[in-house]
């Protein structure tokens, strides 16, 4: 199988799995206990916290562990909203965020908050000045993603951070897709909070982290035993935490090399597919995008059929975000970059990872051409122009 859906999830790196292993059966102690076995777990956890902090250039004290990207986003956004609700009730976000952010904002909008959705241009990029223009004296939070999960566009976070910083407004970024893929430095980006998720960077599922800048206070959304400074109670998932730490360490070490290689493969794939197929288009920005992200559309072709045909050729790719794979609405992100409904239904996201090879890219190029031809033969939207 050729796996090209790394934005949905990635396999656990074998070295990450090795690092986690001792904490399932041997060093399984509860990290909050007093005896040696518990202390082993705690030590492992604290060194993982350092590894996570390091990949985003934060202080370990600024990291809390969560159950994943969704929870990190929820804690950051609701935590700020509930904490600062007496100061203001206005939140700024974009119209291409992940549902973990969008749905959380919609929920808050039903409970007395005002939400502004800043648009993107046709390449899928947010203008910092649009964010600035949206600010009112009631604005308490700006939350804009670092890199988009469908079209891979990278947003001007540092610039937005600068604005937020000057106005004294909390700034959160969902960096689930960018950490481990491109350089992420919380100081350069000027963010107060940053979400990341382990399984997107070759760590285990069910674990994530939230960076909370020193001095930033949040209201917890789960209540219980006071773990993670009261912000995330529950018995610590030590193997998961150790895995996330190791995954960060490995990704940080290989970042430069991996970025170069993935960019090269990505650009080869884009060039060939656009050349070999009539009316094939790239969604998103041509260069300001994640090294591993490709998102095509083909006139007259529907996304799910494309995916299923590629699957039968042994290629795993997706139409966009995994959560929407069983939904019927067109992708909100593709609508936001100005596509028509029928175009937004026809996207193919290919997200490359460190295990992909040049031969695989060649095979994918060839397979896409075959599948596009088959589907166009039966498309009422194509025949009308083709022949």
């Amino acid at each position: 199988m050729i796996y090209m859906d790394h934005s949905a999830t990635a396999p656990v790196d074998p070295a990450v799995f090795e690092a986690m292993k001792p904490y399932f059966i041997d060093s399984f102690g509860n990290a909050s206990t007093l005896y040696s076995l518990g202390r082993e777990g705690r030590r492992a956890m604290e060194s993982a916290r350092k590894q996570v902090a390091s990949i985003i250039n934060a202080d370990p004290k600024e990291i809390i562990f969560t159950s994943g990207g969704t929870e990190s986003d929820n804690i950051a956004i609701k935590g700020t909203a509930y904490r600062l609700k007496n100061k203001g009730n206005h939140i700024i976000t974009s119209n291409i965020e992940h549902p973990a952010v969008t749905e959380t904002c919609k929920y808050l909008a039903k409970h007395g908050f005002d939400v502004t959705y800043v648009p993107v241009d046709n390449d899928g990029i947010i203008k910092a000045s649009d964010v600035e223009d949206a600010i009112t004296d009631k604005t308490i939070l700006i939350t804009i993603m670092h890199a988009n999960n469908e079209i891979g566009t990278i947003q001007p976070i540092a610039e937005i951070g600068q604005i937020a910083h000057e106005k004294g407004i909390y700034f959160h970024t969902d960096a689930v897709q960018s950490v481990g893929k491109i350089p992420v430095d919380v100081n350069e980006l000027n963010v107060d909070m940053l979400s990341l998720s382990s399984h997107k960077l070759y760590g285990p599922k069910g674990i994530g982290a939230l960076y909370i800048k020193k001095g930033v206070r949040l209201e917890p959304i789960l209540h219980g035993g006071g773990h993670e400074r009261g912000l995330r109670p529950g018995t610590e998932n030590v193997p998961g935490i150790v895995g996330l730490g190791k995954a960060c360490e490995i990704s940080q070490e290989n970042l430069e090399k991996e970025m170069q290689e993935l960019t090269r493969l990505r650009d080869k794939l884009i060039k060939a597919v656009l050349e070999e197929n009539e009316e094939a288009y790239l969604n998103g920005h041509p260069t300001q995008r994640l090294p591993g992200n490709v998102n095509f559309r083909f006139t007259g072709i529907e996304g799910e059929s494309l995916i299923l045909h590629l699957d039968s050729k042994g290629i795993a790719a997706s139409t966009g975000s995994a959560c929407s794979s069983t939904k019927l609405e067109p992708s909100q992100v593709l609508m936001a970059i100005g596509l028509k409904e029928v175009e937004a239904h026809g996207s193919l996201r290919i997200s490359l990872g460190r295990d992909n090879t040049e031969e695989q890219i060649d095979y994918v190029i060839k397979s896409i051409k075959e599948v596009v031809d088959i589907l166009r033969k039966m498309s009422p939207l194509w025949c009308s122009k083709g022949e």
Partner: protein
């Protein structure tokens, strides 16, 4: 999520294409998802003798198109009109709940093609009667 039968019809769709001199053509768009299907029929002595389809849509849309063409061919117009979305789904050994509406598309497109055929028939009769 799809049954083997759905996947078979999806991967090896029967009766793909157009009929240039079709007796009836029906196109239906699915408002739920924006998918689109066209069915072409040839009718002789009230029996569907040839049928082809073109579909822009999901796996279920393609599979149901293929399935309904197999079910309709050789049937009389009256019999063909009785094919329901449920019959199509059953014949495919089921569809996932969110995909049940896809079978609407096929049943509706077939009905539209038959309606088109009947309309053309009526026009011809009328033309005949006038001459």
């Amino acid at each position: 999520m799809y049954t083997e039968k759905v996947m078979d019809h999806f991967q090896n769709p029967r009766n793909v294409g157009e009929i240039k001199d079709a007796d009836g053509v029906g196109t239906e768009g699915n408002p739920v998802c924006g998918d689109l299907m066209t069915i072409y029929i040839k009718v002789e002595d009230n029996i569907i003798t040839d049928i082809k389809f073109k579909t822009f849509g999901c796996g279920a849309a393609i599979a149901t198109s293929s399935m309904i063409t197999e079910m309709a061919i050789g049937k009389t117009i009256e019999e063909a009109l009785k094919i329901t979305r449920k019959d199509v789904a059953d014949e495919l050994e089921g569809l996932p709940p969110v995909k049940m509406h896809c079978s609407n598309l096929a049943a509706d497109a077939l009905k539209a093609a038959i309606a088109d055929y009947k309309m053309k028939q009526a026009e011809e009769e009328k033309a005949k009667a006038e001459t």
